[in-house]
Symmetry: C2
Subunit: 226 residues, 2 copies
């Protein structure tokens, strides 16, 4: 079972939807039960066979093996501090981007730990962290009828957790998981997202990113560069 902390936001809802469509059992967590249940109903409406329910964040994570953190950066600290005990031993996939908007421009927020993911690891010292799924357009994720193209860069210091997060990414058609190295690299992946948000505005588009030049062969080969 996969839980989403803050799963009613655009990125969390989009990822929950795509993973439910891929056959995963999903719990959408929120601070408000009604909002969580409305989000679950939204998913079921679009994909009637989805196994999805809504729950308060703490209840959502209780039975989950994998927990996605999909809150805005300014909410991460309080929600993770509250749930640290409930998240002990669990795989936590942090998707958070430390970004703010000023006059329509996205700008990275400074993070003392280096990245939102490293901050999450500090707040959750007994959880197993990966950083991933930052660069996917929330709006495209929510559209059921589109293949979402792009790479998911996955950073973790724990090889098992990295492999689990990469396998989840590849369950979503069109996406390729790319080993992004250790959690220290999460900073750069988070910041790519800030650039993409600005590119979206300039180009009136919903952009993503693809790494070119990776060796072909195997599931991680580059389909564009055989």
């Amino acid at each position: 079972m996969i839980a989403f902390i803050g799963g009613t936001g655009p990125e969390g809802l989009g990822l929950a939807f795509r993973l439910a469509v891929a056959g995963e059992d999903v719990v959408i967590g929120s601070r408000k039960l009604e909002r969580a249940e409305a989000a679950a109903a939204w998913v079921r409406e679009r994909w009637p066979s989805a196994r999805v329910r809504g729950a308060l964040n703490r209840e959502a994570v209780a039975d989950a093996a994998v927990v996605f953190v999909t809150v805005p950066y300014d909410g991460q600290r309080s929600v993770l501090s509250e749930l640290a005990d409930a998240l002990e031993g669990k795989v936590v996939v942090d998707t958070v981007v430390p970004v703010t908007f000023e006059k329509g421009l996205a700008r990275a927020l400074p993070v003392e730990d280096g990245s939102a993911a490293q901050e999450a690891q500090r707040l959750l010292p007994r959880s197993r962290l990966a950083a991933a799924f930052h660069t996917l357009s929330a709006h495209k994720l929510q559209q059921g009828d589109t293949i979402i193209e792009g790479d998911v860069l996955v950073c973790s210091d724990d090889p098992e957790v990295k492999a689990a997060a990469m396998a989840l990414a590849e369950k979503i058609p069109g996406l390729r998981a790319v080993d992004g190295g250790g959690l220290a690299n999460a900073r750069y992946v988070e910041l790519i997202t800030v650039l993409l948000l600005n590119l979206n505005r300039i180009h009136k588009a919903e952009t993503g990113v693809r790494i070119v030049g990776l060796k072909a062969g195997g599931p991680l080969g580059d389909p564009l560069d055989p």
Copy 2:
């Protein structure tokens, strides 16, 4: 004529070579004349019809309309401070990435101005800055027999300068220029390069980046997403 400050380094040499092959008149600048001339000879050896010569940095930029800055970050401040007068009014394309290596890992250096490009603009208040060409593999640029795939993200606050840098990028076969917005976005593009350097090590590859999801049509359309 296009000049390269620090054109004997791997990125400068690679770009000078590719632009010379594309028919541009190129001057490779260095602090040492012998090194500049050796680099020019290297280009001519691989492309006998290349219009290329070597010169001391100051002499190299004298007749150039466009000047590439291709020095390591730790050399940028001193070389640009020295050449500020010679670069007045010129189009300056900054390719510099503020990066250091520790135990084989690339790590971004903090830059007070936000990015190497914004630092260059501060040092060259009367020059017209663009930031571009960061994410191209220096080694691939130097290989004459390969198409180098990827996007060149171009950031500038000056539309004419941005257009000029984008046009140069598209002279190199395989590359697509992407409007990266204002110079404030250079930070994110510079940091993508730090990630790519780490990906190169993890994947034993020479990676680049492509933005997906841009609208099709026109020279800036996405060839992968028609």
